[in-house]
């Protein structure tokens, strides 16, 4: 088949970033699997306060109590006993780029990230394995009182703040995977933005998984104090391995009155990774939270960023783009809960399914009694590129208040013959024409991403699209 030849020629049948460095560990749990002993070991190794150990052990109980979800994607092949729950690669955090070990630098270089963009990307929290090993933070932010460090450091240096908010937005017993993360979390970012401070350049954390059968359980907590603004960017990519690995993060955002948080993610895990993430934000009076969520990689992603609109005038926005290629299932979407008057929300979801890929939009829109004059809109568009591709839409809409306006719309289509005909009559090949239509389809989301991410997104999709006309 000509299609297969093209794919092989491009090397697309193998995961693009499927290289890995020799594994060199500073600390690794002595065995696979999870029990109170392992949890205590992780906590002790990190010199954590007693309350955090307790938090972890309670979470472990919830993890064991909760059944594996039977909705969403197929989790039957996921074996919790075949995973190392903690690996720490290097002893110290790198103070500057020069201090970062060379094999880790190599990995970053192959990914083509920070070196070239270092000047633009002001703060780089690069997570290698389970721990943040490199951090740089612009001086003026420090002066302004902005805290941007790995979560473990946050717990050491800002214990009071962490204790006040940690696990309050996503309690450990929220769901099975949040419970697992709460028990074994390691790494992730802690961000605090003081009142009135606005950070113009996005904070970035780039991280990757690098050990076979290794789970990565990072934990991020962002607190934007009154009237502040922060844009946090998380992107990840992982090497290919033959057995399944698990990524299960928890991200909590708190937007205090008048604050604004934008959180952008592009997820490009290798195609054997389970990506099961819980992300939730609360927005108080007149605060705004925006999730920009791109899902390209992984074997199965289950991720539904949520915004709880707790204060009058709060606004939540979720932009979700998913690309499901052969064998992939992107079960993504968003949750908005209106719990205060005059709140507004918008969910925009765009998904593309190709080959045997399956993309699912799963969403909840809830308006509580008393959240009067709330406005909400959900828009889902799905593009199907192959006969065997699949798309689903499962929007849950629950309204308890009369003075509301909620709208949900979804459309499913294939690339239109007339669109192709038009483009091809202008001299484009069919392949180019399809790629152009697809890029146009995701454009509303791509334009919300920082430039380098938008380019990466477009390039990745273009690469995936090549050879798609057989």
């Amino acid at each position: 088949m000509p299609e297969d030849r093209t794919v092989q020629a491009l090397g697309l049948d193998e995961y693009k970033f499927g290289f890995h460095d020799p594994e060199e560990y500073f600390f690794k749990t002595p065995r696979k699997g999870i029990d109170p002993e392992i949890v205590a070991m992780i906590s002790k190794h990190k010199n954590e306060p007693e309350w955090m150990l307790e938090f972890r052990l309670n979470a472990l109980k919830s993890f064991w109590e909760k059944p594996t979800p039977q909705w969403g994607g197929n989790l039957n092949e996921l074996d919790f006993d075949e995973i190392y729950y903690y690996i720490r690669p290097m002893e110290n955090q790198g103070r500057s780029w020069d201090d970062v070990p060379s094999d880790i630098k190599n990995t970053f270089e192959k990914l083509g990230i920070p070196q070239a963009e270092r000047d633009i990307l002001a703060g780089v929290g690069a997570q290698y394995e389970s721990e943040v090993v490199y951090h740089s933070l612009k001086e003026e932010w420090e002066k302004a009182g902005v805290v941007f460090m790995d979560m473990d450091g946050g717990l050491r240096e800002h214990e009071d703040l962490v204790r006040e908010y940690f696990g309050t937005i996503i309690p450990p017993d929220d769901n099975k995977f949040a419970a697992l993360n709460s028990a074994v979390w390691s790494g992730g970012s802690f961000v605090y933005v003081p009142p009135g401070v606005s950070i113009d350049i996005p904070l970035q954390a780039y991280f990757r998984i690098n050990a076979e059968n290794m789970g990565q359980f990072e934990r991020t907590l962002i607190i934007a104090d009154e009237g502040s603004y922060v844009h946090y960017i998380e992107g990840c990519t992982a090497p290919t391995y033959t057995t399944n690995s698990l990524h299960s993060a928890v991200v909590e955002l708190i937007a205090k009155p008048n604050a604004r948080i934008r959180y952008s993610t592009i997820q490009n895990w290798s195609h054997n990774t389970y990506n099961l993430v819980t992300k939730r934000a609360v927005a108080y009076e007149d605060a705004t939270v925006e999730w920009v969520d791109g899902n390209l990689g992984s074997k199965l992603t289950m991720k539904y960023p949520a915004v709880y609109l707790m204060g009058e005038g709060a606004r939540g926005e979720i932009l979700s783009v998913a690309y499901a290629g052969d064998g992939q299932h992107q079960d993504a979407g968003g949750k908005i809960v209106h719990a205060a008057p005059n709140t507004s929300s918008l969910i925009t979801s765009k998904s593309i399914s190709k080959g045997t890929g399956r993309s699912t939009y799963r969403g909840l829109l809830k308006v509580h009694e008393g959240a009067e004059s709330s406005k909400s809109r959900v828009e889902c568009d799905a593009l199907l590129l192959d006969e065997k591709a699949r798309t689903d839409t499962y929007p849950y809409i629950e309204i308890e208040e009369k003075k509301v306006s909620t709208e949900h719309e979804a459309t499913v289509s294939k690339v239109g013959e007339d669109q192709l005909f038009y483009l091809m009559s202008r001299g484009l090949s069919e392949e180019e024409a399809i790629a152009m239509v697809v890029n146009g389809f995701i454009e509303p989301i791509a334009k919300e991403l920082p430039l380098e991410y938008a380019i990466e997104l477009n390039r990745l999709i273009q690469l995936e699209m090549e050879g798609s006309v057989g």
Binding site: Y394, K402, S413
Partner: protein, 453 residues
């Protein structure tokens, strides 16, 4: 039909294997059906009662519902003319759609039936299921449980095990029945009623069939659990109406499933107005090329009513067209659930499917509207879309009407009427439409004005 000497065991509350067997024997049923009923009963016992943990029941709490609270079989007197029917039933018939054939199921039994001679001459069969078993045994055996199988869910299993009364409509090839066929279900005891409707429309035939449910007001709880199977042959046309207008003492469960052959058309209209809890599954599989389907569902919930609709538009074959429109109003402390699914199976190319659910909440903060318009698409050359909105009566609409001198209360009524008009305007049955309009007006008039701010 009514017989003397109802076995004692059928007069007691609750269902058991013995009850099922006794009922089957009492109705002189063939052995295959007795076996089927018993098999269904075993399934019913095996399947756990749905709870809020089950996805299909996550908003509707039926933990209080128990079949042990109801008498499984309540006979009714046979009558020889419409005039002997209960007065309320006569009124229903008078106010209903003009009909060419009529069946009245009074409690668990068919009390009266009439078919225009012209129809009989053309070979149209319309009779209660037990008579049909005796006279058209092969047809019934072939089709019964074909679309609502005994293992469909717990309620379908119960219906299969304990049904009585019910009806068969058979329209032979090429016969066009112009005047609708009507079936009334009347309940005036605190027992259970388990009707079963079987409609077989052969190639090129056409017919309109109306199932209407009504009851006498009572303090005591009653239970209705129906199953409806609709077979639409090649090029045939069926319009099916289910008008549920029980009094508030009734718990209503119903599953309506249809299959369509090549180039056929099915229009369904499922109306929910009455009962305290109404759960209806409306499912259709478009199994052959070129079929066309419309699903309409107006519902209006007041006081503490719970109205729950689950719909499935299953596209199995290519080139099918489907349009679904469910519109509901809520007031007081009521709750409505619309859960719909468009499924396009692999290979069902050139599918054209729409699904729209709209809810208006009238003057209350205590109502709860749930809308779940789902899509599962497994073919790429399709056009599918769905929409869902929930809101209150539009202020600009009201302002416009009031600026023309219409008082606010009147204006609100008009807007609600307009809201339902999008559905009722698509029903070509005048008597039914009037009935609906009256019911909607009645519901608005329940004191809604006072509650509007």
């Amino acid at each position: 039909m009514q017989k003397n000497g109802v076995p004692e065991i059928l007069k007691n509350k609750g269902v058991s294997a013995e009850v099922v067997e006794t009922l089957s024997k009492f109705k002189s049923e063939p052995a295959w059906l007795t076996e089927k009923r018993l098999e269904a009963w075993r399934l019913f016992e095996k399947i756990p009662m749905p709870t809020l943990r089950d996805e299909a029941w996550r908003y509707t709490d039926i933990s209080d519902v128990s079949i042990d609270d109801f008498i499984p079989y309540v006979p009714s007197p046979d009558v020889s003319s419409e005039k002997e029917l209960p007065e309320a039933v006569q009124t229903l018939i008078e106010e209903g759609e003009e009909n060419s054939a009529l069946i009245v199921q009074h409690n668990s039994e068919t009390a009266y039936s009439r078919v225009d001679e012209k129809l009989s001459h053309k070979g149209v069969v319309f009779t209660d299921l037990h008579t049909a078993l005796a006279e058209h045994g092969d047809l019934v055996r072939k089709k019964l449980f074909g679309l609502v199988p005994i293992d469909y869910d717990k309620f379908a299993a119960l219906n299969a095990a304990a049904f009585s009364g019910g009806s068969l409509l058979y329209v032979p090839r090429g016969v066009e029945v112009e005047v609708p066929i009507q079936s009334y279900h009347w309940l005036d005891v605190a027992g259970s009623i388990m009707p079963r409707t079987l409609v077989v429309v052969e190639e090129g035939a056409s017919v309109t069939y109306i199932d209407e449910y009504a009851s006498a007001n009572s303090e005591e709880l009653a239970f209705s659990n129906g199953a409806v199977e609709l077979y639409v042959g090649q090029g045939a046309h069926l319009r099916y109406v289910s008008l549920q207008n029980w009094e508030r003492n009734v718990l209503h469960f119903n599953t309506i499933r249809s299959s369509t052959e090549k180039d056929s058309t099915i229009n369904s209209l499922v109306v929910a107005l009455g009962s305290q809890l109404s759960r209806t599954n409306v499912e259709a599989g478009l199994v052959a090329d070129g079929s066309d389907s419309e699903m309409l569902g107006p519902y209006f919930a007041d006081s503490s009513q719970v109205v729950d609709h689950h719909t499935l538009q299953d596209h199995i074959s290519p080139n099918a067209h489907w349009d679904l429109l469910y519109r509901g109003a809520l007031r007081d402390e009521s709750q409505t659930v619309f859960s719909g699914l468009i499924r396009v199976e692999p290979g069902a190319q050139k599918t054209d499917a729409y699904q729209t659910n709209r809810n208006i909440i009238l003057g209350t903060d205590d109502a709860f509207a749930v809308s779940l318009p789902n899509l599962e698409i497994m073919a790429d050359d399709v056009k599918c879309s769905h929409g869902s909105t929930t809101g209150q009566v539009d202020e600009t609409d009201l302002f416009y009407l009031m600026s023309r001198g219409i008082p606010r209360k009147e204006a609100e009524k008009l807007v609600v009427f307009g809201f339902f008009g999008e559905v009722t305007g698509r029903i070509p049955l005048r008597g039914l439409k009037e009935k609906l309009d009256q019911a909607i007006e009645g519901k608005i008039g329940l004191g809604f004005e006072e509650r509007v701010a």
